[in-house]
Symmetry: C2
Subunit: 259 residues, 2 copies
């Protein structure tokens, strides 16, 4: 434990943490960060931070310093440069990457597949919904927005620490299809209505890119297409909304069968 | 029709349109803007723009100039200064405010009430869901994010032109309560489960602020509290997700009774 306050921009930890605001550096170091006391506290049950940075005036400083983290205290002036948020909350924790690169350990369950989604807020909220509706994990295509994007991390509200995440090439889904997983896609133009839909016990629910929808590769893999009934002449729902409604229906199914 | 290209920063239309990037000026002028060919085209059935600004190189320039709008052409250099987006699409339309300030014309139907929501993306996506699930209108509290915020307008995907919007003081809801509208709030801590919920024909569904939830004022007005079943230990869903799931259930009800 060291409670010196770092005040110099030349300090190597200051420079290192600042570098992690940049995706390229996160990917090289396999580290990402989460801001705010609530998120950091919630993460602790699941993941120990590699480093913690706090501001000199952070209210709960003594408590953090008592814990067994590599903690660094920065002057206010320096600390704001480490934050992605406009209103820094005085604490940032740095974690090792959480995701797995292969689907080979998946044997059963319901997974959400993100087919090149680009909006960090959309993906973050979907991870939150996936945890709320108790699905088994999230699989992101390699061209999906970086799952460690700071805005994405914020919108997950700590749920990213509590659900398995995979980042893989789309072709890896063949592995699950060969194991008997049903691959479901969403489609406005046809397919089966979501109401009273029976879901397979082992399934992948694929959600398409915000602008382009489901990719050809996923269409080719798809076993069934499902649509959410809505007004005529509506382009579509926001992808997070559509995906969350699917997960809500899935969870209803579990709820009904447990009664 | 005037197809001169405006190249000077001192041009009064350039200055006027640029000023509308600022909320204070939008509120004074009662004008807002939407960017992109698709949104502008979709809005036309519902709302004629007061002005249209296009960039010199806009692909569909001739078609726009043929129409009966007050259209102004700007050099590329100037045009980017009128845009809120990072990737300008070459066309911006300016419209008069759409909302109403009083609920006195509402007699029946289902309305969504936004209880001080702050995130423009959340509100925009909710408006999109409200249109998709065919509810009758959106009522925003005065302290909700400005409904003409450019990011909000973008996330509505033109749906804001197609559904009635009201902006009022919360106390105005008493008017609807006195007319027999049922006021529903969402609550994690209790109330009735959403599954198989029967909805009143005339109802207000209130969604709470992202951080603070439902306000005391709305709790006092509430006739019934509803919750969405989800995993233990989950704080809550994103408000757009929760609201959209409620609207989806409402629409299921209509769908079932029309069969």
């Amino acid at each position: 434990m060291n409670d010196d306050v770092i005040k110099s921009r030349n300090n190597r930890y200051f420079k290192y943490f600042k570098s992690l605001l940049n995706k390229k550096n996160r990917q090289r170091e396999h580290l990402f960060f989460a801001e705010g006391a609530k998120v950091v506290e919630e993460s602790l049950e699941h993941e120990k931070p590699q480093y913690v940075a706090i501001s000199e005036s952070y209210a709960d400083k003594e408590n953090i310093l008592r814990q067994n983290f590599k903690t660094f205290i920065f002057s206010e002036n320096l600390f704001v440069n480490l934050c992605d948020t406009e209103n820094p909350q005085g604490i940032i924790a740095y974690y090792r990457f959480l995701h797995r690169n292969s689907l080979s350990d998946i044997r059963r369950g319901i997974y959400l597949f993100l087919d090149d989604l680009q909006d960090p807020g959309n993906v973050g909220s979907l991870i939150r919904s996936a945890l709320a509706f108790e699905i088994d994990g999230i699989i992101a295509s390699k061209d999906t927005v970086e799952i460690y994007n700071p805005k994405l991390i914020r919108s997950t509200m700590a749920s990213i620490f509590k659900i398995p995440i995979y980042v893989v090439d789309k072709s890896e889904l063949n592995l699950l299809k060969n194991k008997g997983f049903e691959i479901l896609t969403t489609d406005l133009d046809g397919g089966e209505v979501l109401y009273n839909q029976k879901f397979a016990d082992n399934a992948i629910i694929a959600l398409g890119n915000e602008a382009k929808g489901i990719s050809q590769e996923l269409k080719d893999l798809s076993d069934k297409s499902i649509y959410i009934p809505m007004a005529q002449n509506i382009d579509s729902l926001n992808v997070t909304v559509a995906g969350s409604i699917l997960l809500y229906e899935l969870n209803r199914h579990k709820y009904d069968s447990s009664r």
